[in-house]
Amino acid sequence: MPIINDVVIKIATVNGTGSASANGLLMKSIFRMGIPVVGKNFFPSNIQGLPTWYEIRVTGDGYQSRSDRVDVMVAMNAQTYARDLADVSPGGWLIYDSTWPRSKMLSRDDITVHGVPLSKMCNEKFEGVRARILMKNIAYVGTVAALLDIDLDTITTLLEETFADKQHMIESNMEAIRLGFDYAIENFVCPLPRRVSPMNGTQGHIVIDGNTAAGLGCMYAGATVGAWYPITPSTSLMDAFRSFCMKYRVDPESGKRTYCIIQAEDELAAIGMVLGASWIGARSFTPTSGPGISLMSEFLGYAYYAEIPAVVFNVQRTGPSTGMPTRTQQSDLMCCAYASHGDTKHVLLFPADPNECFYMALSAFDFAERLQTPVMVLSDLDIGMNDWMVPEFEFDENHVPDRGKVLTADELDDMEEFHRYLDVDGDGIPYRTLPGVHPTGAYFTRGSGHTKYGDYTEDSDKYRDVVDRLLIKWETARSILPESEIQYSELNKAAILTVGSGHGACIEALDRLTEQNIALNYCRVRAFPFNHSTREFIDKHEVVYVVEQNRDAQLRTLLMLDIDADPAKLISFLHYDGMPLNAAFVVDKVLEQISRGQAA
């Protein structure tokens, strides 16, 4: 019996040889056949020449995380051939370019190796070095299509959409695909026993990366000022925002732009620009990654104390320091939560996938303006730069954006005097005025000690008055931020708790554990400060496995610091090698804990 729609394809190529479009084409065609897919790109910090891998997991069950096996390896990079060969799971297949022979030393008898003379065929067919390299990489799409039974018509349609007005590109690409396809049909048994078959599992879904989704969210949120400094893996967020703005943010009458994107001289300036624009009353944001947060910290503390809205996207990468810029991690939780010197803490949002990147981009501006404080959206490289299959986004036109407590000119006209930092409503959030609106609203924004009236102070009581009120605001934040996602049954005394991109792997792990009669409850935190339900959830369990992608158990630490969670209950599962989390890691850790408990 063939195994249908459960196959992992890994493609090893050289960076900068056009393989990204070939891999995208492959993944998209499977998606178009109605089959859920997961795409993960493992790329070097390099423009051209270093090895790169792309992993496509075909998952009829619709899981979102990366797999722990490789069924079909397309080994196009001689440099990494030995390791790619070793990577194939027993019983799997390896396809390589047989134009050049591989060392006889490298062989395995537990897998099937198929050689396809891709370079030779393409060299004969196409002119020019660049075209030959590109076509060689398109040709393997054909081979994989034949082996896995991917629909050629779907591939053709996708090419037609991509190269809408370049007929010759469609033809040459199809020619290359045909070369690979026909060779496979003639020389191998096609399709393989592991293959794909059309199904109806992708309706209402799209395939999108988190940075594009967040950039789209910023456009829909009405952000007008974006300031940034290029840094992997956040750069494509601003690229996306720019491309949406170029289409939708040009004033029809004047032909002028209704957005302002500034490439700053550094992250110190990028966040300064965001604060300046937000202080004026525009919705403003900056995308960055860990090193950028370090540089922005001084200003983030300023914004906390002077109470200025700001939206910051931190697409986390592997630290410490420069770390591995093209690998993923969740290692900025602590540094964002407490960015800056002094008693400072910040509101964080944790999207789990591109879908939440879109919605959290929208709500981040609402929270920032409501709470008059920086809001950081902590995505990561896995979410930001990989293609995820997620439910399509809906925009609720009835949603009224929350601009927070901003006094209008009319309101100020009726006021004798205005005091910036008075807690009028008891929720710790004072009223705010914007420059250029009314002379009564004027105040001096400062990061130095100030009274509740906004005046400079070095008086102990007046200083404490303001910093204590900020704690009331912190509790207000806790009560309005997104609730944790919780699956609870009172039968279970143990639970998994995770954050962000750990979600997909944990959900899959819960299923696999259930198959082994191990039932666990589940909690995924979505914001910091953590809401009360998270504290209650932890209290109701004997043990909570905290799954996170950093070395130092930062989420666990935050749970202890912010909601006084009992450290004895919190057992860390730490995954921090830079690769996205997979279910096998979580399952193994749980089983290890259980056997340890039984042994004790």
Binding site: V225, T258, M273, L275, I280, S284, A442, Y456
Partner: protein
């Protein structure tokens, strides 16, 4: 103390501007700087300039960083919003603020420490963007609040109160600005209000980045013999190259100027500045001439003052980008996205 406001006493015969406001309406809280500080004279000149330009107080935004100079926005125009940012970062905050609302008039007050050391990066990039603001550097060659360390603008041979003279080449904001192509560059002296007020008015009215570097002696740490940023030294080596008269749009140019020495330049909005050239062959519209002249006079030990360079042809930041005239902060959010149905079309690309 900065939170003590001045008593609002206004003489009935005090002159009023076109908004019906007196200079008193443009004052701020009481200065906490040392008695005799040059910065307080600059504050007075700013008040007069803003008053005479009929700027509505709440349409002014006062920007600063950290240091003695950066405290001064509290001491003028209380009815304007102020932003006292972190050290050396006034330029970025102003860039963002101006990006969001181009209708306000932005005045930034910085110092030599704030702009030429910690904030040097932001200073030069604001120039590069031709950010539409008046950028004042109150230049005294010294860090006052931390008690008298040299700043990057201290001249070679300048002596601190204690310790050895400075041996490092000073950073000159005017030369930097010229090199980068700033579009309005002036230097003046805090003790010369007659020269300062029209220079500030020109800077506030100029469309683009306007630098006014003002020698403003520190009476406590850098006003002794041997200091090159002292009152005595500045007065002795002070050299006007061009003087400026500011002429609002409605007024005719009446003052008589020597043939060949006057030069009238129209600013954004129709006002004019008239340059009285003291050096006949000085051309403030030529970067090459300005640069050579400044270096020559510097080597001769002189401090060249006046409007040293102006370029009215370059577009300011928003116009360079092709941005809408309406302040971005005033656009309604629901006009800034294409709606629910268009989102479906956008997402079709990701199917």
């Amino acid at each position: 103390m900065t939170y003590i406001s001045k008593p609002a006493i206004s003489h009935p015969k005090m002159p009023k501007n076109n908004l019906g406001l007196t200079a008193r309406d443009y004052e701020g809280t009481v200065s906490t700087l040392c008695a005799g500080c040059g910065h307080d004279s600059v504050t007075a000149a700013i008040i007069q300039a803003v008053f005479e330009l009929d700027i509505e107080p709440h349409m002014l935004a006062k920007m600063s960083g950290i240091g003695c100079s950066s405290k001064t926005p509290a001491y003028f125009v209380s009815q304007a919003h102020g932003f006292n940012a972190v050290h050396g970062r006034m330029a970025s905050v102003t860039t963002g603020a101006y990006a969001a609302n181009r209708k306000l008039t932005y005045i930034g007050v910085s110092g030599d420490g704030d702009s030429l050391s910690i904030g040097a990066g932001q200073f030069i990039h604001a120039i590069r963007r031709n950010l539409n603001m008046c950028y004042i550097i109150e230049n005294n060659g010294v860090y006052g609040l931390t008690k008298g360390q040299f700043s990057a603008s201290a001249d070679i041979g300048s002596r601190p109160k204690k310790g050895l003279p400075n041996q490092q080449e000073p950073i000159d904001s005017v030369s930097i600005a010229l090199g980068l192509g700033a579009t309005y560059i002036a230097r003046s002296f805090s003790g010369d209000k007659d020269q300062l007020v029209p220079l500030i008015k020109g800077a506030l009215t100029h469309s683009g980045f306007a630098l006014v570097d003002i020698i403003s002696p520190c009476v406590t740490f850098n006003d002794h013999e041997g200091s090159t940023k002292s009152y005595a030294h500045t007065r002795q080596f002070y050299h006007h190259v061009v003087d400026v008269d500011f002429v609002p749009p409605a007024k005719e140019i009446k003052a008589a100027y020597d043939e060949g020495s006057a030069m009238s330049i129209e600013l954004h909005g129709g006002s004019k500045i008239v340059l009285r050239k003291i050096e006949k062959d000085y051309d403030p519209t030529s970067r090459a001439v300005s640069f050579k002249y400044l270096r020559d006079r510097h080597n001769a030990g002189e401090i060249t003052t006046g409007l040293l360079y102006i370029d009215n042809s370059r577009k300011e930041m928003h116009d360079l980008m092709g941005n809408i005239d309406t302040p971005l902060s005033e656009l309604a959010l629901d006009t800034l996205h294409p709606g629910k149905e268009e989102l479906k079309k956008i997402l079709d690309r990701y199917r």
